[in-house]
Symmetry: C2
Subunit: 125 residues, 2 copies
């Protein structure tokens, strides 16, 4: 499986879709967007910090494990760091697979795992 | 829930993301792409036909029902008709929701239902 993991302090720009083979039947993309209300409090945005070397390593391991469960051809993960205003994306995930069920299951698992033990933190101020 | 359903004989162009509120936390997108191999046979593409008035009606009903199960803010569905070459998208689905789990469940359900009883057909030649 092709794995790409990026961190950027800039606004996330979704890269053009580039299919690695003629056997890709499903491209699933997720943008995680900062919402205004967090626990009933109106925010202007969130601040994200990542311990990048470790975050890359942990995410890559999760992706490899998930590919064993839900075979997919490629995953692209981009996480923004620093201040992210409400309405802008803090993360982007693209999964390419032959079949849609695998791509959706991979994506769901990847986001669950991101929240578990990957050293990326958010704070309100 | 905002529902938009389009059929087009042209290549699908993914519309810019337009958030209907500051409470959207997840944008999930799916492109269904024509694969080269179908039951072991190498194809150049697939031909899609839709009975559009009925397909719109049935899809809209499915979307309303799914929104009752998995609350989402908006869904945009685009299906291409006519000849779709291998490597190009036959359909696009975008779901916006406050939370990712609802958006993914809505999307999975919507694609299942599309295959059930929506009058859109594909043929090899």
């Amino acid at each position: 499986m092709e794995i790409a993991i990026h961190f950027t302090p800039e606004a996330i720009v979704v890269p053009p879709l580039d299919l690695p083979s003629r056997e890709i039947g499903a491209a699933v993309e997720f943008l995680g967007i900062v919402r205004e209300l967090e626990n009933g409090e109106a925010l202007g945005g969130l601040h994200y910090e990542a311990y990048e070397p470790m975050a890359r390593k942990v995410m890559a391991r999760h992706f490899e494990e998930l590919a064993g469960l839900h075979p997919c051809a490629a995953v692209l993960f981009i996480h923004r760091t620093g201040w992210v205003p409400v309405g802008e994306a803090s993360m982007f995930l693209r999964v390419l697979a032959s079949h849609r069920k695998e791509a959706l299951a991979f994506m769901d698992g990847a986001i669950d795992r991101l929240k578990q033990d990957v050293p990326v933190w958010k704070r309100i101020r």
